[in-house]
């Protein structure tokens, strides 16, 4: 099992486990867990087109997470 940090922002904050602070939680997951697996585990609706970074750079949903990785997830957002 490995520990990864998951950070959820904006309207995704509601999917954080209880007692999470500062948009963050630490999850213990099996080796080989992917980014997509985390979304399913946190029950984030699959129809939301998510924006995510692994260790603060862009990654794909199939990316396998390593111990200590940080996954940051945003809903579709825009700005200027």
């Amino acid at each position: 099992m490995i520990e990864v940090t998951v950070r959820l922002f904006a309207t995704l904050r509601v999917y954080l486990p209880p007692q999470s602070e500062d948009n963050s939680c630490v999850l213990t997951v099996g080796e080989g867990t992917t980014v997509g697996d985390i979304f399913r585990q946190l029950k984030i609706p699959p129809e939301i087109k998510l924006l995510y970074l692994v260790n603060y750079t862009h990654a794909d949903e199939g990316r396998i997470l390593n111990a200590g990785d940080v996954l940051s997830v945003f809903p579709p957002i825009g700005g200027g």
Partner: protein, 578 residues
């Protein structure tokens, strides 16, 4: 019948022109840039008699098209020394369009110490003395002019900064609630307005004839497809990303991506980011009874704006945006949202560009004038700019001159305009736009952040140099057209992903004008506008060496990704090679 107004501030004469000639096909930025490039000598003094200040609603302003309320203001910029189009929302564009006014060309200058305002209504246009409003800040001014001319009028105005001709001064436009919270901020056009002795333009569209459509039915059909694209896309739809958190949502996004310029562009990560994030501001607004979802601009369905109350639950400011939060927040090392909101209100009242002023204070901090993180000191400097103290005038003159005054080497400008809220080393696509836009360091003119960070219209890795020149080029071209159509650039989030929405735009233009307008025409229009702007800049003395980023971006690695800007000079020179 569409017309142009020529307002001669020297002779105090106004002429309505119905023969539009070569200006007939243009609107918004297209019109302002074509007029400036034809009528303003490129080497003239921007605060002298020969500069012209042009106000133009977009081609689709005043129609039923969603998000068509943008106004373009153009001139030779006293900040950059090149051509400028400064774009603003609010309520002016739709009213001018309904009065069938395609543009207002303000020329010459009033006699020294005289100041006037222009009243435009269904009966015509007239200049009035603004002596009693001299030195007045924008909020008071809007209240007084509305009391005089009607609560529903739009007020376009300068505050004391524009009257003092400060290079970072803005032009304010009242929003849907009648508050001067929308600003044409970039490029110091408030100073041009002040140099001409024009304090305000009051627009009353009561009884206006409305816009004319060549084919109303075809227009309505295309407008529906366009609107549907906006209401179905996750970013722009009601209850979507922009409606819920506004542009402030970007604070955490750009911080996570390691691209949030912190303490004068020394890092891409700010430890105080969460305190000033869109989420934090959303929670504060909700708790105090403000509004997190608000349309500041005519016909807007995206509703990205907000209304922020202070601790005593009184109105403090509206339209507290990402750029402002960044400039007075991360860039200055300040993590208190109430201080940032006060800075926003001060700038709106005094009539200053929040991007330029926040960044100027950050440069002053880098030069040791005050410490990073000194929020009260920051507010004091803004107040001084409004009062015209010598130090205040330095602050109001922008980043490039502050860099010289305070002996700072790492000065984040292109063509002397300060860089917005994305470090070009970590978002290389927008870095290309900063370097190559005729406007100077400008983010909206080719908002590559959408594709570099938000995966809108595809994905181009922000940390690599590949693909950035082409991305910036394509966005600059389409944006030059959007800016001419009077459309809010936020429609891009929807239309870059929804092709039918994009195609609906030339269809709306065809149906309104009666002239066949295709996607190819749209792109050609954008290229023609940029070409006119670049030609003006070359004639004003610019060279390809002005299409570059400052040295430190190419040499100093930006943490946390430890990246430099490595898009080559040849690639930068290829951007406008068409």
């Amino acid at each position: 019948m569409s017309k142009l107004l020529r307002v001669d501030m020297g002779a105090q004469k106004i002429v309505f022109i119905e023969e539009l000639g070569e200006y007939a096909d243009f609107g918004g930025r297209g019109l302002t840039s074509v007029i400036v490039s034809k009528e303003v000598p490129p080497t003239c003094h921007p605060l002298g008699e020969k500069n012209k200040l042009v106000f133009a609603p977009g081609i689709l302003s005043g129609t039923t098209a969603a998000n068509s309320g943008r106004l373009s203001i153009g001139a030779k910029s006293p900040l950059t020394g090149g051509i400028k189009e400064s774009n603003v929302g609010g309520t002016a564009a739709a009213k001018l369009a309904r009065l069938q006014i395609n543009g207002i060309i303000v020329e010459g200058k009033a006699p020294e110490k005289e100041i006037h305002y222009l009243l435009i209504n269904e009966d015509g246009a007239a200049l009035h003395s603004a002596e009693e409003y001299k030195g007045m800040k924008n909020y008071d001014l809007a209240e007084k002019l509305k009391a005089k001319h009607g609560e529903k009028v739009t007020v376009v105005s300068i505050g004391p900064a524009g009257e003092m001709r400060l290079a970072a001064s803005s032009v304010a436009v009242t929003d849907t609630k009648g508050r001067p919270s929308r600003h044409a901020g970039r490029g110091g056009l408030g100073a041009v307005m002040g140099s001409k002795g024009l304090k305000a333009i009051v627009i009353d569209d009561t009884g206006a004839p409305g816009v004319e459509y060549a084919d109303k039915e075809a227009f309505t059909e295309a407008a529906k497809v366009f609107r549907d694209a906006l209401t179905s896309h996750d970013v722009t739809k009601p209850g979507g990303g922009l409606a819920t958190y506004g542009t402030a949502v970007l604070v955490n996004v750009i911080n996570e991506a390691g691209a949030l310029p912190t303490r004068n562009f020394t890092s891409g990560r700010f430890e105080g980011a969460e305190k000033i994030s869109g989420e934090a501001i959303h929670d504060i607004i909700e708790e105090r009874g403000g509004s997190t979802t608000h349309s500041g601009c005519t016909n807007c369905i995206i509703q990205c704006s907000n209304i922020y109350l202070d601790k005593a639950k009184n109105y403090l400011t509206g339209g507290l945006e990402y750029e402002t939060i960044w400039a007075f927040g991360a860039d200055c090392g300040v993590d208190d949202p109430d201080i940032i909101a006060q800075a926003d209100r001060l700038c709106d009242d005094i009539g200053l560009d929040t991007i330029e002023i926040g960044s100027t204070i950050a440069v002053a901090m880098a030069g040791g004038l005050l410490s990073f993180g000194d929020g009260e000191g920051m507010l004091d400097l803004i107040r001084q700019a409004g009062d015209g103290t010598p130090l205040g005038r330095i602050i109001g003159s922008g980043v490039a001159s502050a860099g010289r005054v305070f002996g700072v080497t790492d000065v984040p400008v292109v063509k002397s305009q300060s860089m917005p809220a994305y470090d070009p080393r970590a978002v290389k696509g927008v870095g290309v736009t900063y370097a190559t836009s005729p406007m100077g360091a400008d983010h909206t003119s080719g908002y590559a952040v959408a594709t570099n960070i938000m995966r809108v219209g595809g994905f181009v890795d922000p940390l690599k140099s590949e693909g950035q020149a082409e991305l910036s080029r394509n966005l600059q071209i389409s944006t030059a057209f959007l800016d001419s159509a009077g459309l809010c650039v936020f429609v891009a989030f929807a239309i870059l992903d929804i092709e039918e929405g994009f195609k609906a735009i030339p269809k709306m233009v065809s149906a309104k004008t009666g002239k066949n307008f295709t996607v190819d025409d749209l792109l050609k229009y954008g290229r023609d506008v940029i070409r006119a702007e670049r030609n003006f800049n070359f004639a004003a003395g610019f060279t390809k060496f002005d299409d570059r980023l400052p040295e430190f971006f190419k040499e100093k690695k930006l943490p946390p990704h430890d990246v430099i800007f490595d898009v080559t000079d040849d690639e930068l020179d290829s951007v406008h090679d068409y």
